[in-house]
C-alpha cells in the first residue's frame, strides 16, 4: 500500500514551514535515512529523511511552497512491487503513522483536585507526648548523634557521609563516636566535594541504601543543590513512582556568629519551594532527635536544617528509643489566646522569650514551633489564628518569598475572615550578612522586634 510522507515538525515550536527543495524526484528509490527534501523551519533549514523504504511515487507539494502545515502529505512513497496506479486506483494511502489517539480531554482547571472545602488537612497523628514521662537532659548535638546511632543500629543500610564526619568526629562534633561504633564502611569521610558526594549519595539512595549526608554547613550545599533538587527531589515523579530516594541532607543552617555573608544564610525557603522534598528545621533537642529518626526512616529525600548556636543547648529528651516525631506536625510550644507567633529553629527561642516579655504587659501569645517547613502543618497554624485572630511570623531568613510570605498567604487562603489585623513578618534584613558585630545584630531578628510586631497586630503602641 502506498505510504504518505507528511510535512514534519522539526522543532518543538514549528507549526508550518517552507518546502525549500526536493532532493529526490518522482521515480527515485529511497531507503531509511536518505535525505529526500529540505524544509525551512521557524529556526533553520533542516533535512527531511526517509523512514520507510520505497520509491517516490508522487510529489504532492512542489518545492518553494511556503506555509505548509505540519502533517500535510507532501509525497507518496510506493513500496516494492507497487506502481503509480496504486495511487490512481483510489486506494487511500496509509500515513506513515497512525493519527494520534488522545486520552481524556484536558480538564478545566476547576476540575483539578483542590484543597478540600473543609480546610487544611490535619497533621499526621503523634504519640510523642507520652514519651516525656521519662526524660534525660541532652544537648541538641547529642540528640542528633543519638538519633543517627539508634537508626544505624536498627538498619544496616543507613550510613553517614560528609566532610570530617569520621576521624575528626564531626566539624561540630555531631557525629562524635559514630566511627568507633560503626566503622569506616558506614561513617565515611569525604573529600571537600559537595556536588560530587551529594550526587554519589543520591545514587546510593536509588540503589536502596539510606544515606545521611552531612554538610559542614548548608552554605556549602549550594554546590550540591542541583543533585538535591534535580536528582533527589524530582526523580520519583520523573520515573512515574519507580525510583524513590530515601536520603537525609543535614547540617547547620542560618547565621552562626560573625562568620560573614557566605557562611550565614537561612535556606528554609529555598528548599521549601521544591516539591519532592521534605524540609525539617527543629528547635529543641527532643524534636531534633525525634525528627531526625523520622527523616532517616522516611522513604523520601529530607532536608534537615540544624542550627549551630543550638547545638550546645540542653533540653529534656525522652529516654525511649521509640520516641519519634512525625514530619509535618507543628507544635504549640506556648499556648495563648491573644496573638499567634510562628517560628522555627533558633527563632523559636526568641519567640518564647518575646512571649514572656509580652505576658508582663498582659498579652497572652501562642507560640507555634513549625518544626517542619515542608509539608507545613497549615491546620495547626490556621486553627491557632482562628482563635487569636492575629499572626506574627518569625524567621531568620530574608523577607522576599520567605517563610513569612507563605504564612501571610496561608492566613489569606484559610483564615482571612478571622484576621483582625494584617499579618506581620519578622525576618532578617534584606542584605548579605555583615561581619561587624553591631551590623550583624541589626541584620538579625531580635526579641524586641517580635514584641513590637505582636503589639502592632494588637494595635498596642
Amino acid at each position: 500500500m502506498p505510504i504518505e510522507v507528511l510535512m514534519p515538525a522539526l522543532s518543538p515550536t514549528m507549526t508550518e514551514g517552507k518546502l525549500a527543495k526536493w532532493v529526490k524526484k518522482e521515480g527515485d528509490s529511497v531507503k531509511s535515512g536518505d535525505v529526500i527534501a529540505e524544509i525551512e523551519t521557524d529556526k533553520a533549514t533542516m533535512e527531511v529523511e526517509a523512514v520507510d523504504e520505497g520509491r517516490i511515487g508522487k510529489i504532492l507539494v512542489a518545492e518553494g511552497t511556503e506555509n505548509v502545515a505540519v502533517n500535510t502529505p507532501i509525497a507518496v512513497l510506493l513500496e516494492e512491487g507497487e506502481d503509480a496506479s496504486a495511487i490512481a486506483g483510489g486506494e487511500k494511502p496509509k500515513t506513515a503513522a497512525l493519527p494520534s489517539v488522545k486520552g481524556d480531554e484536558a480538564p478545566a482547571a476547576s476540575t483539578l483536585p483542590a484543597t478540600p472545602a473543609s480546610g487544611p488537612a490535619a497533621p499526621p497523628p503523634s504519640d510523642e507526648d507520652k514519651f516525656f514521662e521519662k526524660t534525660v537532659k541532652r544537648t541538641v548535638r547529642e540528640a542528633l548523634r543519638d538519633a543517627m546511632a539508634e537508626e544505624m543500629r536498627r538498619d544496616e543500610k543507613v550510613f553517614v557521609m560528609g566532610e570530617e564526619v569520621a576521624q575528626y568526629q564531626g566539624a561540630y562534633k555531631v557525629t562524635q563516636n559514630l566511627l568507633q561504633e560503626f566503622g569506616p564502611d558506614r561513617v565515611i569521610d569525604t573529600p571537600i566535594t559537595e556536588y560530587g558526594f551529594s550526587g554519589l549519595a543520591v545514587g546510593a539512595g536509588f540503589k536502596g541504601l539510606r544515606p545521611v549526608v552531612e554538610f559542614m554547613t548548608f552554605n556549602f550545599a549550594m554546590q550540591a543543590i542541583d543533585h538535591i533538587i534535580n536528582s533527589a527531589a524530582k526523580t520519583l515523579y520523573m520515573s512515574g513512582g519507580q525510583m524513590g530516594c530515601p536520603i537525609v541532607f543535614r547540617g547547620p543552617n542560618g547565621a552562626a556568629a560573625r562568620v560573614g555573608a557566605q557562611h550565614s544564610q537561612d535556606y528554609a525557603s529555598w528548599y521549601a519551594h521544591c516539591p519532592g522534598l521534605k524540609v525539617v528545621s527543629p528547635y529543641s533537642a527532643a524534636d531534633a532527635k525525634g525528627l531526625l529518626k523520622a527523616a532517616i526512616r522516611d522513604p523520601n529525600p529530607v532536608v534537615f536544617l540544624e542550627n549551630e548556636i543550638l547545638y550546645g543547648q540542653s533540653f529534656d529528651v525522652p529516654e525511649s528509643e521509640d520516641f519519634i516525631v512525625p514530619i509535618g506536625r507543628a507544635k504549640i510550644v506556648r499556648a495563648g489566646k491573644d496573638v499567634t507567633i510562628t517560628a522555627y529553629s533558633l527563632m523559636v527561642g526568641h519567640a518564647l522569650a518575646a512571649a514572656e516579655a509580652l505576658a508582663k504587659e498582659g498579652i497572652d501569645a501562642e507560640v507555634i514551633d513549625l518544626r517542619t517547613i515542608r509539608p507545613l502543618d497549615v491546620h495547626t497554624i490556621v486553627e491557632s489564628v482562628k482563635k487569636t485572630n492575629r499572626l506574627v511570623s518569625v524567621e531568620e531568613g530574608w523577607p522576599v518569598c520567605g517563610i513569612g510570605s507563605e504564612m501571610a498567604a496561608i492566613a489569606m487562603d484559610h483564615a482571612f475572615d478571622y484576621l483582625d489585623a494584617p499579618v506581620v513578618r519578622v525576618h532578617g534584613v534584606d542584605v548579605p550578612m555583615p561581619y561587624a558585630a553591631n551590623l550583624e545584630k541589626l541584620a538579625l531578628p531580635q526579641i524586641e522586634h517580635i514584641v513590637a510586631a505582636a503589639k502592632k497586630v494588637l494595635y498596642r503602641g
Partner: protein, 338 residues
C-alpha cells in the same frame, strides 16, 4: 600494570569476532538494528508532532551500548544521560513502554511524566535517563558505591558524552571512585560534538586520559565496531568487578543526526556525515562479517529486519493508542506516602 596493557588496533575486528558465538553475533545485529529502526521511527513521530520537547537520537552510536551491555552480568546497573533510548532497549526494556513515554502516554515507563530524557526501570537495572549534562556521573558512582556497600559483586556502567567530560562533578566522581575503589566503568561516548561544539574546540587533551591523575586506567576503543567494544568491555568490566577500582573507556563514535531533533547540524559538513555513514556504519560493518563468515545470508538478515520492523511498528502503534495520563496523575508520585 593494567593501564599499560596493549589494546587491539581499532579496525581489527577479525580477532574478537572469533571469540563470539554465531548466536551472539546475530543478537548484536538484531539489537543494533532495533535501536536504529526505533530511533528512525521516533524521529518520524517527532516530525508528526506526536513526540514533543527534546528528543536526542542515538543513530550511529548503536555499537557502543550493545557491545558494553553484552559484557554485563544480571544485577549490574546502567545509567546514562538524555541520549538514552538505545540504552533502555539494550537493557531489555520494552520498546512499547519506551515509545509510549516519548509520546507522553500512560503506557510509558514513567507513565508519561518523564519523557524522552527521563525513563527508569528497576527491574532491568536501568537508572535513567538524566537531563543535566554530567549529572549521571556522581549518581552512577553512587550506584557503584551501593554495589560495594551491599557486597553484591555488581558493577555500574556509567555512560557520559564528550560534552560531560568538562563538568567539574565528573572529576569529583573520578576522585572518589578511585579513592574508594568503586566498581564503576565510565564509558565516554565520544561522538565528537557536544551539541554544536566539536571536541577540538571544547576539550584539551585526550579524553580517555582524563582519569590519569587519579590513577584510573583509560582506553580508547573503536565505538563503531561492536566486536571491539565487546572485547574491551569484557576485559575491563571483569577488571573492575575484581575490585581494582574504576576504568574509563572512551568509545570513538559518531551520531548521524543532530544533537536533538531541532538541530540542523551546521557545525559539520555533509561530507563528514556521509563518510561516517558509508565507511564506518556499525550495522553495515557487522552485516559484512555475518555474510563473510556464513553466519547469515541476505535472506536471513531480511527476516531479522522484518522482525525488528514489526517490534518497532507495534511500539509506535502502542505509543499512539495508549491514552494520555489521567489528569489525577498530575499529583501522584511527588512523594512516597506512608
Amino acid at each position: 600494570m593494567a593501564a599499560s596493557r596493549s589494546r587491539k588496533a581499532p579496525n581489527d575486528s577479525a580477532a574478537p569476532a572469533e571469540a563470539v558465538t554465531h548466536d551472539e553475533l546475530l543478537g548484536y545485529y538484531k539489537e543494533m538494528l532495533l535501536i536504529r529502526r526505533f530511533e528512525e521511527k521516533a524521529g518520524q513521530l517527532y516530525g508528526m508532532g506526536l513526540i514533543g520537547g527534546f528528543c536526542h537520537l542515538y543513530i550511529g552510536q548503536e555499537a557502543v551500548v550493545v557491545g558494553v551491555q553484552a559484557a554485563l552480568n544480571p544485577g549490574d546497573t546502567v545509567i546514562t544521560s538524555y541520549r538514552d533510548h538505545g540504552h533502555m532497549l539494550a537493557c531489555g526494556m520494552d520498546a512499547k513502554g519506551v515509545m509510549a513515554e516519548l509520546t507522553g502516554r500512560r503506557g510509558g515507563y514513567s507513565k508519561g511524566k518523564g519523557g524522552s530524557m527521563h525513563m527508569f526501570s528497576r527491574e532491568k537495572n536501568f537508572y535513567g535517563g538524566h537531563g543535566i549534562v554530567g549529572g549521571q556521573v556522581p549518581l552512577g558512582t553512587g550506584l557503584a558505591f551501593g554495589h560495594k556497600y551491599l557486597k553484591d559483586n555488581g558493577v555500574c556502567t556509567c555512560y557520559l558524552g564528550d560534552g560531560a567530560v568538562n563538568q567539574g562533578q565528573v572529576y569529583e566522581s573520578f576522585n572518589m571512585a578511585a579513592l574508594w575503589k568503586l566498581p564503576v566503568v565510565y564509558i565516554i561516548e565520544n561522538n565528537k560534538y557536544a551539541m554544536g561544539t566539536s571536541q577540538e574546540r571544547a576539550s584539551a587533551g585526550e579524553l580517555h586520559q582524563r582519569g590519569a591523575a587519579y590513577g584510573i586506567p583509560g582506553h580508547q576503543v573503536n565505538g563503531m565496531d561492536v566486536l571491539d567494544v565487546k572485547a574491551a568491555a569484557d576485559e575491563w568490566v571483569d577488571w573492575v568487578r575484581a575490585g581494582n577500582g574504576p576504568v574509563i573507556l572512551e568509545m570513538k563514535t559518531y551520531r548521524y543526526r543532530g544533537h536533538s531533533m531541532s538541530d540542523p547540524a551546521k557545525y559539520r559538513t555533509k561530507e563528514e556525515v556521509e563518510k561516517m555513514r558509508t565507511e564506518s556504519d556499525p550495522i553495515d560493518r557487522l552485516k559484512k562479517i555475518l555474510l563473510e563468515r556464513g553466519v547469515a545470508t541476505e535472506e536471513s538478515l531480511k527476516d531479522i529486519d522484518r522482525e525488528v520492523k514489526a517490534v518497532v511498528s507495534e511500539s509506535a502503534e502502542f505509543a499512539q493508542q495508549s491514552p494520555e495520563p489521567d489528569p489525577s496523575e498530575l499529583y501522584t508520585d511527588v512523594l512516597i506516602e506512608g
